[in-house]
């Protein structure tokens, strides 16, 4: 039984293998981009707004609110990164209801790639906010003695991110596979539904954790600075 879509090679050319992970990633990407493009091509700024636009606005606003709740100073800055993480993982997981589809997030290569992106994004955002010196100093907090532990924590949480997502999605696929062989009529459907739920939750967890890491890396500096804006105004659309 194939567990990872990495092993499902669709095309091979001079040692370069095009596996299912990459192909389904492309499918998900194409779906997201096309949907966004079609809807945003006819954006309305007046009173009458199409349902699709409302849907996208709700998605974007919710993500922004979530980022804001974690405590980031400028949600618009993290929106592309965190939002794309969530949308990509959620779409990848939700598409499992389509027969023949293999979620790319079920591949450790994909989750590792996303975790590496987070691993790189955290110091990047932190340096952009505080400068290189400020970022490096955070490894010596609260005392220089903690430097090795800080480095280990940085690496371990990346590993944890990758394995958590991979394990959850992969397990869902495996469980369905096993149940089909044991009780092929009723239980797989239930498990599939449960898989949709866990897939969505995993997308949420992954995005929120990434945001928490980034925010915590930036928060050290916020403590040292005079709190100019402790209650950052939420940019929700409640007032509209």
């Amino acid at each position: 039984m194939e567990i990872s879509p990495d092993a499902w090679v669709l095309y091979e050319w001079r040692g370069l293998r095009l596996n299912a992970t990459i192909v389904f990633t492309w499918v998900v990407m194409a779906l997201l981009v096309l949907l966004s493009w079609i809807i945003t091509a006819r954006l309305s700024e007046g009173e009458t707004v199409s349902r699709w636009q409302v849907m996208l606005e709700v998605v974007v606003t919710t993500i922004r609110d979530q980022i804001d709740e974690v405590g980031a100073t400028d949600p618009a800055r993290y929106l592309p990164f965190i939002g794309t993480l969530f949308l990509f993982i959620a779409t990848s997981n939700l598409l499992t209801v389509v027969p023949g589809y293999q979620p790319p997030t079920g591949s450790l290569s994909t989750t590792a790639a996303l975790a590496i992106c987070v691993l790189i994004a955290v110091p990047l955002f932190s340096i952009a906010q505080r400068g290189l010196g400020g970022y490096l100093k955070s490894y010596l907090q609260p005392s220089p003695f903690m430097l090795p532990f800080n480095i280990i924590s940085e690496l371990s949480r990346t590993l944890a991110l990758a394995v958590r997502l991979y394990g959850n999605v992969m397990s869902g696929t495996v469980i369905v596979g096993i149940l089909i062989s044991v009780a092929p009529f009723f239980f797989p459907v239930l498990m599939q539904l449960l898989g949709l739920l866990t897939g969505l939750i995993q997308a949420y967890i992954f995005a929120i954790l990434a945001m928490v890491y980034i925010a915590s890396a930036s928060r050290v500096q916020r403590k040292t600075e005079p709190e100019s804006d402790p209650e950052h105004p939420r940019t929700s659309r409640q007032g509209d």
Binding site: N19, S44, T84, S109, T110, A113, R237, D240
Partner: protein
């Protein structure tokens, strides 16, 4: 279950490309659209607030203006009412005066009429009394009184004042016709003789004397020589009484009229 590092690298690239694409097609347009809409709504709200404030100010102004108008209207109404009252009182007073004036005029007229009527009555009564007296004299003086009348006439003729006597004497002397003696009733012969003799004696002439009857003489004698006339009769007295009565009534009425107007 192992990591294919080539796939990992490809997925990182894919992910970065996806971030860029979604930023290009999703986040930026949506965020911009929402921001613009929010700005527009904000603008409209502030605009509406400003307009509302403007409208409220205007309403306040209008309210004040209306109150002022109302108060001024009330004042004008009061003024007009007072004026109308004054005018009414004045007109009433005028009418009252006019009526009073008319009443007085009417009263005057009434009094005047009454006075005229009274005067007329008095006049008529006087004349009536005199008429009755004349009639009585006429009825009771026939015959018996001839001699006395003759004697009275002779006595009066003798007492004639100088002027009259001279005129009468001249008239008797120059007269063409006879002297005319008029009495109410025909005198008897002796009485006629006495009168003729007295005339001849007094005027020193032998003028012819002619006797005639005239009822108007009543009691007494009228002597006419040429154009000169002397008369001693009740009719003359009565005529004088009538004239005096008229004069008295005429002189009394203006005084009384004057008294009523005062």
């Amino acid at each position: 279950m192992q990591i294919d590092w080539l796939t990992v690298a490809a997925q990182i690239v894919n992910f970065l490309v996806l971030i860029w694409l979604l930023q290009r097609f999703l986040y930026r347009p949506i965020t911009n659209a929402m921001a613009r809409r929010e700005a527009r709504i904000e603008e409209r709200l502030s605009d509406a607030k400003a307009r509302r404030r403007e409208a409220e100010d205007e309403a306040e102004d209008l309210r004040k203006e209306r109150e002022e108008l109302e108060s001024s209207r009330q004042e004008m109404l009061e003024e007009a009412r007072a004026e109308a009252d004054e005018l009414r009182q004045r007109l009433e007073q005028d009418i009252r005066d006019e009526v009073e004036q008319k009443r007085e005029n009417w009263q005057d007229m009434l009094l005047e009429e009454r006075a005229d009527f009274a005067r007329d009555m008095q006049r008529k009564a006087g004349h009536k009394v005199l008429d009755i007296a004349a009639r009585l004299l006429a009825e009771f003086t026939s015959g018996a009184l001839d001699d006395q009348i003759a004697q009275g006439f002779v006595a009066r003729l003798k007492e004639l004042d100088k002027d009259t006597r001279k005129k009468m004497t001249a008239a008797a002397r120059d007269a063409d016709g006879p002297a005319l003696v008029e009495t109410a009733t025909a005198l008897d012969t002796s009485a006629r003789r006495k009168i003729t003799r007295a005339i001849h004696e007094q005027f020193e002439t032998g003028i012819e004397v002619e006797y005639q009857e005239d009822e108007e003489v009543l009691l007494g004698v009228r002597l006419a020589v040429d154009e000169q006339t002397v008369e001693w009769s009740a009719a003359r007295h009565l005529n004088r009484l009538n004239r005096e009565l008229d004069a008295l009534l005429d002189s009394a009425s203006p005084v009384r009229r004057k008294e009523t107007t005062d």
